[in-house]
Symmetry: C2
Subunit: 403 residues, 2 copies
C-alpha cells in the first residue's frame, strides 16, 4: 500500500507553486511556475534513481528500470499545468500518484519485471494554448510537431519559445518510449462518484469534444446615434450564439455546451462592438450525437450571419473522438483485490490517457472530488480518496508489469 | 467667412496625433497622445494672442479679449479625446471650428464687444474613464471633483494622476469663467442630416442616457464534467441580458440599448465563466420612456438572477437627463443668414454643451457625417460640410457677442 500522508504532503507541496489565496492553483502551461513544478517532479524522480528524458514537445519521462529491460515498460502520468483558476488536484493528483507509486517501490526495494515510467505531459489543460492534451496528442502523432510548437497564447507568445525558455524543449523523439501499457489516475471532476458513494471509477470511455473559435464581425458605431435597425452589433449576435450553445446542449441527452472565453473589440461602452471573438466547447459521449450538435451550431451561425447581416466565422479547429479504454478490466481487478467500492463511469474531460490509448492498452482510475467541482479553486479530494486512487494505480501497474 | 482649407488642414494635422492605419484616431483621455493634442491646441491659441488657463479637472480655456471685458464672454468648445477606434471629427471638429473662428477674428483684426473663449473639455468620450462629459460635468458642478479625479481606468490608473503626469491638472476653480453664452459645433454622428440633405442641424435637445455596470457572479467549473443543470454560468446569464437590452430598445419608440464592454473571468475555454462584468447603455429622448426602459432592465436582471440562481449586480452609476438647448434660435438665425439648409434635430450622443446648459444659454450646431457613422475609424465629414458648421459657429458667436 502507498503512504497516504506522504502522498498528501506531496500534493500540498506541489500546490504551493502557483497557489492562490483561495486555496487553488494558477499554473499555466509554459510559465515559470510550470517550470518550478516540473523541476520538483524531476528532483523527486531522480531521488528514487530514475533517469529522466524530455521529448520535443516538452513531455517528461522518468524511468525506473525493471529486471528485464527488453520488455516494454508500464507507464503512468498526467499533467502539472492548471487552469487560471484551477485546483490542486486536476492532473497533479495523477502525476503525484505516480511519484507515490515510485517511492513505494523504491523504499520497499521492489523489483518489477518491466521498467516503470512516470510522465508529465505538456499543456493538458488547453487554457493558454490550444488544443488540450497537446503534449500527449503530439507524442502519439495526432498533431504535427512544428504546428504545435508554433501555437501562440492570446499575447502571441509561442509554445516552443516558452518551452525553450523554461528549459523543457527536449530532443527525445516523439512516440519513442518502449511502453506496453499506460494508466492514469485522475479526480473525476464531476459529481457522480460522490453521489453514488463509490471510491473508484473504472473509466470505460472518454467522451467526444469539439472545440471552436467563433468570430463575429459587425461594424463599430456609436451607441447613442446609431438607430437599432442600422446596427451590425457583433455583441448581440455573439449573445444569440451563446444562448444557442445552451439550447443545443439541452436538446441532446448528455449534451454539454459552453462558451468560456470571449474577447470584445473595441470594448468601449459607447461603441457598438465591431468584433467579438469567443470559444465554443461541445461534448457528448456519442459521436453521432456530437456530430448532430456540431451541425446545429454551424447552421445556427449561418442563420445569425444572415439575420444580423454580418460575418460569423466558425473555426472548428479540434475534434476529439470518443475513446474506449481497453485496459479498464485491469483497473477493475486491482480495485476489487484492494476491496474498494467502484462503478463504471465515463470521462467528461479529455485526458492524456485518451491519446495514449492510440499507442498502447490504456486504463484510467477516477477518484471522487467534493461536489464534483473542478476548474475552480475550491476543487478538493480528501487524503483517503487520493490514497485509494494511488493504491489502485500501484496494484494495476504491478499486475501489468507481471504479465 | 472662415477659411475652409485652413480648417481642413488643421483637422488633418490634429488627426495625426493617435492616427490609425485605417484613417481613424485612437487618443484616449489622459494619455500622452491627449497631451500632444492639448499642447497643439494651446500653441495655436497662444499664436493668436490668447491667454490660456487650465482648471482643476483639466479643462482648458483660451481667452481672446473683447472691447468690454466686464461683459460675460461668449464661449465655444468640445473635446480632443477619442474612442479607441474613433474618427478624426467627433469632438475635434468642434474644438478646431473654435480655433478657426479664433484665427478668422485674429487675421481680420475683428474686435468683438465681449471676450471670446475657446475650450477643450476633459474626457468627453467616457471610454477610458466614466462617465462621459466628465470634464464639463465636473466644471458645472454635477460631479464632485475629488470623486472624479479618483476614477480609474480598467488598469486601475487614476484620472487625477494621468492629468498631473501630462501637465494638465490646473488650479483654476471649477465653474469660475465669466461666460454669458456657449455654443458647440459637432458632427451629427447619425444619418439624419445626410438622409435629409441638410447642411446644418439645429439641435433642440440632447437625449437622456443611463449607464450601468452589470456584474454577473456565477461559479467557475469544468465545461466537460459539469452537467447543464448544475451550472451557474455567468456567461449564459450575461448573454440573456445582452439580448434583453436589444428587446428593451425595440419595445420603445426611439429606444436604444447597447452592451459595448465585456470582461470575462477566468476567460478560459474549458472553464464555465465564474464572473462576467459588462456595460449597459440605455437612451431615449423622453425621460418617462427612459425610466420605463430602466425599470425593465432592473426587473429583468432580478429575474435572471432568480432563474439562473446566481448574483446579478446592477450598478446604475450615471443618469443624464434630457437637456433642452435654449439658444437654438441663435444658431438658426445665423444659419439662415448664411443661407445654409437646415432642420431641427436632437442629439443622440451626450455633449459638453449639454452640461454647459446648466450655467449659461447654450446652443449646438450639427453637421452631417458620412452614412452617419461615428465611433468608427471610417468617420468622415467633407471639407465643405465642416466649413459650413464653422461658419455658423462664427456668426452665432459674433451675434451673441454683439447683444
Ligand atoms: N482534465 C481536464 O480538465 N482536461 C482539460 C481538457 C478538457 O477540457 O477536457
Ligand atoms: N459625442 C460623443 O460621442 N460623446 C460620447 C458620449 C456618449 O456616449 O454619448
Amino acid at each position: 500500500r502507498i503512504n497516504e500522508q506522504r502522498l498528501w504532503d506531496t500534493l500540498m507541496e506541489m500546490g504551493e507553486i502557483g497557489g492562490t489565496e483561495k486555496g487553488g492553483c494558477n499554473r499555466l502551461a509554459g510559465t515559470d511556475l510550470d517550470k518550478q513544478a516540473r523541476d520538483l517532479f524531476v528532483s523527486w524522480c531522480e531521488a528514487c534513481g530514475c533517469t529522466v528524458e524530455v521529448d520535443k514537445i516538452g513531455n517528461i519521462f522518468a524511468r525506473r528500470p525493471g529486471t528485464n529491460n527488453d520488455l516494454p515498460a508500464v507507464g503512468t502520468g498526467s499533467h502539472l499545468d492548471t487552469q487560471p483558476t484551477g485546483g490542486k488536484f486536476d492532473g497533479v493528483f495523477g502525476v503525484l500518484s505516480g511519484v507515490e507509486v515510485l517511492r513505494t517501490l523504491h523504499e520497499n526495494k521492489i523489483e518489477t519485471p518491466t521498467a516503470m515510467e512516470f510522465s508529465v505531459w505538456t499543456n493538458e489543460e488547453g487554457s493558454r494554448f490550444q488544443p488540450a492534451m497537446q503534449g500527449s496528442g503530439t507524442y502519439v502523432g495526432r498533431f504535427e510537431l512544428e504546428a504545435e510548437l508554433n501555437k501562440t497564447d492570446v499575447n502571441g507568445i509561442r509554445l516552443g519559445d516558452e518551452l525553450e525558455r523554461i528549459g523543457y524543449l527536449g530532443d527525445m523523439e516523439l512516440g519513442s518510449r518502449h511502453m506496453g501499457a499506460f494508466f492514469e489516475a485522475h479526480i473525476e471532476q464531476g459529481p457522480i462518484l460522490e453521489d453514488e458513494k463509490k471510491a473508484i471509477g473504472i473509466v470505460r470511455l472518454g467522451q467526444g469534444i469539439r472545440w471552436y473559435n467563433i468570430e463575429v464581425v459587425g461594424r463599430p458605431s456609436h451607441s447613442g446615434t446609431t438607430p437599432m435597425h442600422l446596427r451590425k452589433d457583433a455583441m448581440l449576435a455573439a449573445s444569440a450564439i451563446v444562448t444557442e450553445m445552451n439550447n443545443i446542449a439541452h436538446r441532446h441527452e448528455n449534451g454539454l455546451g459552453t462558451v468560456g472565453y470571449m474577447d470584445v473589440w473595441p470594448n468601449s461602452r459607447n461603441t457598438i462592438p465591431g468584433k467579438v471573438t469567443f470559444s465554443a466547447d461541445l461534448r457528448n459521449p456519442r459521436p453521432d450525437v456530437l456530430l448532430a450538435m456540431h451541425e446545429e451550431l454551424a447552421a445556427f451561425c449561418e442563420k445569425i450571419a444572415k439575420e444580423h447581416e454580418l460575418d460569423v466565422n466558425l473555426d472548428h479547429f479540434w475534434y476529439f473522438a470518443p475513446v474506449e479504454f481497453n485496459s479498464s478490466d485491469d483497473v477493475k481487478a486491482a480495485t476489487e483485490k484492494l476491496g474498494y467500492s467502484h462503478m463504471d463511469i465515463y470521462a467528461g474531460a479529455g485526458h492524456d490517457a485518451c491519446y495514449m490509448a492510440d499507442l498502447v492498452p490504456t486504463g484510467m482510475i477516477f477518484t471522487p472530488c467534493l461536489k464534483g467541482i473542478s476548474h475552480n479553486e475550491a476543487e478538493y479530494s480528501s487524503p483517503e480518496e487520493c490514497a485509494a486512487g494511488a493504491n489502485v494505480l500501484l496494484h494495476t501497474m504491478l499486475e501489468a508489469s507481471d504479465r
